[in-house]
């Protein structure tokens, strides 16, 4: 085989590293987690309401509910704000401003989650406890912080979606006598819908996957949260908070939680790819 052929095959092999790693991850996590799901029974694992490993109860439903509420809250906070900022950057400011803003947003996306969690712990949690009641460590605190954390994702992708629209959309609407706002609200945003939805789905993926900040401010109670002021636990924090000590069945149950998480994230990612149609960074 010529050297060129060897190199080509070599590059092909290297290129499969990302799929290879993904497969490895799936294999090892499943290998640890699936036997336990089978042992406990998928139904009682996913829908069981009691998580009490030392007594052999492995129901993760409270965590699924916790993840759901916190993510929903994050979207309620993050999507309107994010889309508003995207509109702001795209339509309400001159291009120069947005060239400055975009790297700033990327910068903010790079701030570690422990810093966000710390701020939530020091600032938000006492505020909530003093003014709204409950322990402060709550779904509300988690949603607010998570909402802020997903803002960069939603802003940058939505803004790209808006910018990608043909100028004729805007010009056509304006020339028909629409105000700027009417153009934005009735023409541009609907046209950028698929990009914005993709950003929301990716934001959701980011929110569901967040661990450190949530461990710091959700309180981690194992029960189902009954209000936004109650403490909760997500699938990720369940793993994060008990992984250090767990052995045997308990540890496998945490991997099983990872399996569920894996499926959810893969599902969301695939959905996002369908919706946006093209590959996103």
């Amino acid at each position: 085989m010529s050297k060129e052929k060897i190199l080509e095959k070599g590059f092909l092999l290297i290129a499969f590293s990302s799929i290879g790693i993904l497969a490895l991850i799936a294999f090892f996590i499943f290998e640890q987690g699936v036997p336990l799901i089978w042992k406990v029974g998928p139904g009682s694992f996913l829908l069981g309401e009691r998580w009490f490993p030392s007594r052999g109860s492995f129901g993760i439903f409270p965590m699924i509910v916790g993840s759901f509420w916190v993510t929903l809250g994050a979207l309620i906070v993050g999507v309107p704000l994010g889309v508003a900022c995207a509109v702001f950057l795209c339509e309400l400011t001159p291009p120069a401003v947005s060239t400055v803003f975009r790297p700033t947003i990327q910068l903010l996306a790079a701030i570690p989650s422990v810093i966000y969690g710390f701020w939530g712990l020091i600032v938000l949690v006492p505020l909530i406890r003093i003014h709204l009641g409950g322990p402060g460590l709550s779904v509300l605190a988690g949603s607010l912080v998570l909402g802020i954390m997903i803002l960069p994702t939603i802003i940058s992708i939505s803004e790209d979606a808006l910018r990608a629209l043909p100028r004729t959309f805007k010009e056509g609407a304006l020339s028909l006598g629409a105000t700027h706002w009417q153009t934005i609200w009735r023409v541009l945003l609907p046209a950028a819908r698929s990009g914005i939805v993709a950003s929301v789905i990716l934001g959701m993926g980011r929110a569901i996957g967040e661990t450190m900040a949530m461990i710091m401010i959700l309180g981690n109670a194992v029960q189902m949260p009954h209000s936004i002021l109650s403490s909760a636990r997500t699938l990720t924090t369940n793993i994060g908070i008990e992984m250090g000590y767990a052995t045997g069945d308990h540890r496998q149950a945490l991997f099983a939680t990872g399996v569920v998480l894996f499926f959810i994230i893969m599902g969301l990612n695939t959905l996002a790819m369908f919706v946006s149609g093209k590959r996103r960074t």
């Binding site: 050297k3 009691r50 998580w51 009490f52 490993p53 030392s54 007594r55 949690v125 006492p126 406890r129 322990p135 402060g136 460590l137 461990i215 309180g219 981690n220 109670a221 194992v222 029960q223 403490s231 636990r233 908070i241 008990e242 250090g244 000590y245 767990a246 052995t247 308990h250």
Partner: protein
């Protein structure tokens, strides 16, 4: 010649990686690895720091992970020494356990909490979730914020075993994954109650008396305060070499004094009281 030149960066990189791996692949642990309970961990770290200050050639790596993980690590020889904050279970008795100190578990509340004494039954009722309002115990008019350690924690197991007995801790309790974190939460929330290692109680929280008995060395020695657990060092076989040296230091008066300074009860105190 030209082809060789363009390959150079690749070879250089490969060599570089190889070199790194080679230098890294020395004897991994030229030192002692001590793994286990996060309750024992801070004290083991302080002891290790002192020990290494006097024996600069020896390295001791202290790591958390929990009592069970520590015992497991010793069994699989991933670590030379394990730390446990609970007594060994029957199926762990093949390992060697040496008490290095005793630690009481204190039930703590916010310093502003008007209560300073609760009966064991009252504490049980609070932690099981039966009593959810401070009013019911004579305190202020506010719901109780309950804080506990996570499942698998040696401290939680000890608390469960020594105080709660058969009563389960409420599933609605807030969960924090270290003594320090519980101390933070209780110190910030005027309505919180939790439990931590007595050695970690500081001015941010208040330890309450149980059945009128205060948690202090005197009461521990006289067996009046009963929520006491041993801090154990676990070995697979009789400790030798550096492990022995470290253990000897810890059990020596100097080592024990350090532990007492940090808030623990020395082994000699307990063995004296058993005479």
């Amino acid at each position: 010649m030209g082809i060789r030149k363009s390959l150079n960066p690749i070879w250089a990189l490969a060599f570089f990686i190889f070199a790194i791996l080679l230098t890294g692949c020395q004897n991994p642990q030229g030192g002692l690895t001590v793994v286990g309970s996060t309750s024992v961990e801070p004290f083991a770290e302080v002891l290790a720091e002192e020990y290494m200050a006097h024996h600069s050639q020896r390295k001791i790596y202290v790591q958390g992970g929990g009592s069970s993980a520590g015992i497991q690590a010793v069994r699989t020889e991933a670590a030379q020494v394990g730390m446990a904050s609970r007594a060994l279970m029957p199926d762990e008795r093949d390992l060697i356990a040496v008490p290095i100190a005793y630690d009481a578990i204190a039930v703590i509340v916010h310093p502003s909490n008007p209560l300073s004494n609760l009966s064991q039954d009252q504490i049980k009722n609070i932690f099981s979730g039966q009593v959810t309002h401070w009013r019911k115990t004579g305190g202020r008019d506010h719901p109780i914020t309950l804080v506990t350690r996570e499942e698998g924690s040696g401290t939680r197991e000890a608390f469960q075993h020594l105080l709660m007995g058969k009563t389960e801790i409420s599933l609605g309790a807030l969960v924090q994954d270290s003594n320090g974190a519980i101390r933070q939460v209780v110190g910030d929330d005027p309505n919180a109650i939790g439990y931590i290692s007595l050695g970690l109680v500081n001015e941010r929280v208040k330890a309450i008396k149980i059945d009128g008995v205060e948690a202090n060395v005197e009461n521990i020695k006289e067996h009046r305060y009963k929520i006491v657990r041993p801090f154990l060092f676990i070995f697979k076989t009789t400790p030798q070499g550096m492990a022995r040296g470290f253990l000897d230091y810890i059990l020596s008066p100097a080592g024990q004094k350090l532990l007492v300074q940090e808030g623990l009860v020395s082994v000699t105190t307990i063995s004296d009281s058993q005479r």
